[in-house]
Amino acid sequence: MSERKQAPERPPRGMMVKPQKGTFKPIIRVMRYVLKDYKFHFLAVIGCIVISALATLSMTLFTKSLIDVYIIPLMGKINPDFSPLARRLMTLACVLAVGVLCNYSMNRIMIMVSQGSLKRLRTELFNKMESLPLTYFDTHARGDIMSVYTNDIDTLRQVISQSIPQLISSSISLISTLVSMIVLNLPLTALSLLMVFFSLRITAKLSSMSGKYFVQRQKDLGKVNGYIEEMMQGQKVIKVFCHEDKSIEEFEKLNNNLRESARNANSIVNIIMPVNGNMGNISYVLVAIVGAILALHGFSGLTLGALVTFMSLNKSFSMPITQVSQQFSSIVMASAGAGRVFEMMDQKPEEDNGYVELVRARIDENGNITETDELTETWAWKHRHQADGSVTYRKLEGAVTFDGVDFGYNPDKMVLHDIKMYANPGQKLAFVGSTGAGKTTVVNLINRFYDIQDGKIRFDEINVNKIKKADLRRSLGVVLQDTHLFTGSVMENIRFGRLDATDDQCIAAAKLANADGFIRRLPNGYDTILRNDGANLSQGQRQLIAIARAAVANPPALILDEATSSIDTRTERLVQKGMDALMNGRTSFVIAHRLSTVKNADCIMVMEKGRIIERGTHDELLAQKGRYYRLYTGNNE
């Protein structure tokens, strides 16, 4: 659980986050990504926003004419004629109706754009992830990868569907209001802008103050959550050691620290809104007073009606500014998330320069191999020679050779040195040695999970680098210690080994693996749904399904990582039998934990610190009285 990352906090409303250099790069890229598919949609959205903003503005401007043009002239008349007003209102109603319609269309289009882009983003991200080499998964914590899908994509959703449209509409109303204000009166506009400037300065100041507390709060929250995770994990140990009071004491300390910093941070954020709002009020009063002086003294041609309009514009001026600054902050925050999304998108996928393919084949009496579309059970490597374009076939048999293989997960630290081995088709090779000796690494090289630094690995005498990865892996079955079953029925999990396998073939594989018995006893037999990596099954049962999964693929070669402890003797015997049945007639590489597996191996490799230090059959190795002998007799001194 330790790798689980704290979800990035979104900034509270009204807070401004200072952007750093290059902050917007990922967001610009998001925009480009969205625009690629939805250029015209976006144009339509902007059109809608403009129209709907104009409609709103026409409403505001109407207020001015309402009093000056339509009401004041009528005042004191005996038979006032309201028909001009009626006509004006009718046109206004039409304009507003168009505005509402545009607003609705904008929302609808934005839904298509944002959800469509997100779907594409998710799918592409996942497809990319599936193509990444194992090194990526080794070097990135599971929680971090998950958080890209959950937190980061979610912040992008906010940006695409809310922040950007609102930013556009706020900017438009800001500009249109500003233009109207300038047209009405320049000095008053200057005054308004000055007030807006002050208000922004104050907000920025408060934000940077709270920013400090926010960092502290995040730190404290991380500590509290980390502590909770660790203690919940070890809750039973706490009980057994009567450690409850001490852990409560420790927790309260952390919890109170969090309260302090959270309170400080929230307090400041909470006052940003009232400060902004009331700055607007103060600005309003100042405009009223200055405007009144100007109007009464006839300066700069300001009429009273224009002043009233200006005052209402002034009011609607501060709102979009607050909005813009808010959206701006959330975009800055989302940018970090977008950066992480693209970082994964930009990873280099697993390279595959292989050109040797696996094809279904038919072999005649003379041993000639021909390619066929029929569902034969015979397979052959189709080798298209690059030099002259000629094609040769070689039967798939499962011979594996390692010739002087060196390997390191990173080039400056080799973990395997000069590995040499040879497995004839059908032979069984066992690896023994302590944890970290390199057993798993060796078998990971056979199906090219990693690429070697030096030496050669050959499969059926073909350099594995030349074989298409997918075909190489298809010819190698694996049963890992961590079984990794998938959500779905038992049948689907077995069929994972070969997608076109019939139900009968899956059941036959389960029988071979000794899994049929227990599967039939499950509540829904083969249709029982497994969840959470088969959490409702025992370790042994999961292992049996994993064996069946490998069996249904029917590969010529196998990689087996034996289960370690925690399986009781009876299940263990079932697993053992299943494995033996599976290995029968196939080239097998077994990471062995039990002597019974090792005994009948054709060759046993004893590994230590990345080297094979002893090799031979069980009897040969016992006779050597070396490391293997000491392991076997349990005599470690």
Partner: protein, 581 residues
């Protein structure tokens, strides 16, 4: 449920009550401001009276400052109250969890408890702060705006009351329709995340079976579901803004038309009309806010429920009244014990257990997975209570002991053991806070842990990462044994605690036990015959019942199951796992 949570406000009640009051005061000021605005226009500007402009301007300025003051105060008290509330929630949950018995813990999973204490608390905290600030502000704003409107003009106000009802109805309908879609959407999100998680953890299997395309297709389908449900939900929500805008515009136009008539007829001033406009907007805005609060509150309801589940869970093992504070010796007796994890389910995990173990004996326990070995020993330190029968330690029913006394005298090294972040010494001192370095060294020597500790750079001050990730499984197990030894217990239980330790070391540890703590009763659960065969007696468990309880030799002769296990392990020569720790 809400009551349970609200009682957690505790000493922050003052702030929690003060916030709505301050917010109300702020709202009052904000409501008055448009009124004064009207004055500025009517009496000042329209009348061409600069003095009035300044006078009312000053009033408005004063109101703005007062409102600012209340706003700031309210923001601070809201922050204090809500963070205090969440702190109390976490604290109470943590305390409650500490009082949980094993069966309480089993009921909630570890991951479940963590989410409840982290994400759920954050959700509730946000909802709480929002309630304090907005849930009061919005309705009050609406009512006051309405009052002001009525004061200005009763007939006009009726106009937008109609609009308001219409808006409220529309918003409610949308929410009602959209909630179930959101629920389904969240379920699909869970599925999507599960699928990602499976692929991240099982990437080796996916790649080994060349199932990338298959998984991509599966994911594509899940992503499509998210897409179509999101679009469905958001399409409904997209009606929100147009409905709101239509109602506002409709009211404004009607207001303009009727207002014009009223003004011309001299029943209203132009300033009044402007104020009415702004009151209408703030009224409808508050309506919108109320519906938003409603949605957010109902979303946090699930979190609130999950928190209150923890808070109201009754720990089912408690200290007895007048507890026994002394454990006489390490004898253990099971008298006709039955045990089931789920009461009333009829599935018994242990049946008719009748065992009598003398103080100082070494007892091996063997049996298949699920035969009840771990359950059996957890009854001894009262990690679970028996369903019927009695378990006695030192001749006294375990239910009569003070829990701490009992658990300090019956040390258990759990199968799933944990090491905590901290130095090795910190971890060892869980067993005994006052243990000297010398005592710790001694315990480590018995557990064969001294050697690898001495080889570490910082020795006993070596920092252990969370979950003990920087030491091997075998090393972790040995540290756990040493930690339990430091309790100096009368009964020591090792639940498969040496599975990752090589056979030779395993033997050495057992030998050290026999020599150094001969008076401690030792119970050893193991899958390996070699770990138990030298015990004084061995319990063979089969499907929750005792199948045999005798010495190795006798069992070999008389017990079918034991013999079978022996045969398998002897013929295969034991196991090979991680022998070179």
């Amino acid at each position: 449920m809400v009551k349970t949570l609200l009682s957690q406000i505790g000493k922050y009640r003052k702030q929690a009550i003060l916030t709505p009051i301050l917010v109300s005061a702020e709202v009052f000021m904000e409501i008055l401001i448009p009124f004064v605005t009207a004055m500025i226009i009517d009496k000042g500007i329209n009348g061409g009276n600069l003095n009035n402009v300044i006078r009312y301007g000053a009033i408005m300025l004063a109101l703005a400052l007062v409102s600012l003051f209340f706003g700031i105060k309210a923001g601070q008290t809201a922050a204090t109250a809500s963070t205090g509330f969440s702190t109390n929630l976490r604290d109470s949950m943590y305390r409650r969890i500490q009082s949980f018995s094993f069966s309480n813990i089993d009921r909630f999973s570890t991951a479940g408890l963590v989410t409840r204490m982290t994400t759920d608390v954050t959700n509730v905290e946000n909802a709480f702060q929002m309630t304090l600030r907005i849930a009061v502000r919005a309705p009050l704003m609406m009512i006051l705006s309405m009052v002001m409107c009525f004061m200005i003009n009763v007939r006009l106000t009726l106009v937008f009351l109609v609009g308001l009802v219409f808006l409220g109805f529309g918003l409610f309908l949308i929410m009602y329709k959209v909630m179930p879609v959101f629920k389904r959407l969240f379920e699909k999100y869970d599925e999507l995340n599960a699928s990602i998680q499976e692929n991240v953890t099982g990437i080796r299997v996916v790649k080994a079976f060349v199932r990338e395309d298959f998984e991509k297709e599966k994911f594509g389908k899940a992503a499509w579901w998210i897409y179509s449900l999101s679009v469905k939900a958001e399409k409904m929500l997209a009606f929100n803004a147009p409905i709101m805008m239509s109602v506002v515009y409709f009211c404004m136009i009607l207001l303009a038309w009727l207002g014009a008539h009223f003004i011309v007829a001299g029943e209203m001033t132009t300033g009044n009309l402007t104020s009415l406009f702004s009151y209408v907007i703030s009224m409808l805005m508050s309506m919108m806010m109320i519906s938003m609060v409603f949605v957010m509150l109902s979303m946090s309801l699930a979190s609130a429920r999950r928190i209150s589940e923890v808070l109201t869970e009754e720990p089912d093992i408690r200290n007895p009244e007048n507890p026994v504070m002394q454990v006489k010796d390490g004898s253990i007796d099971f008298d006709n014990v039955q045990f089931t994890y789920r009461k009333g389910s009829g599935e018994s995990t242990l049946r008719d257990i009748d065992l009598h173990i003398r103080s100082g004996e070494t007892i091996g326990i063997i049996g298949a997975t699920g035969s009840g070995k771990s359950t059996l020993v957890s009854l001894i330190s009262r990690l679970y209570d028996v369903t019927s029968g009695t378990v006695r330690v030192g001749g006294t029913d375990v239910r009569n002991y003070d829990l701490e006394v009992l658990r300090n005298n019956v040390a258990v090294v759990l199968q799933k053991n944990e090491i905590f972040s901290g130095t090795i010494l910190d971890n060892l001192r869980w067993g005994n806070e006052e243990a000297t370095l010398e005592q710790c060294r001694h315990a480590c020597a018995l557990a064969c842990a001294d050697e690898f500790i001495e080889n570490m750079k910082d020795k006993y001050d070596t920092w252990i990462e969370q979950g003990g990730t920087n030491i091997s499984g075998g090393q972790k197990q040995r540290l756990c044994i040493a930690r339990a030894l430091l309790k100096n217990p009368k009964v020591l239980i090792l639940d498969d605690s040496t599975s990752a330790v090589d056979t030779a070391t395993d033997a050495k540890i057992r030998k050290a036990f026999a020599q150094n703590i001969p008076d401690t009763t030792k119970l050893i659960i193991s899958q390996r015959i070699s770990s138990v065969q030298n015990a004084d007696r061995i319990i063979v468990l089969d499907d929750g019942a005792v199948n045999g309880f005798d010495t190795h030799d006798n069992l070999l002769r008389n017990n079918q199951i034991y013999k079978e296990i022996c045969d398998v392990q002897m013929q295969s020569g034991g196991d090979f796992d991680e022998k070179m720790n």
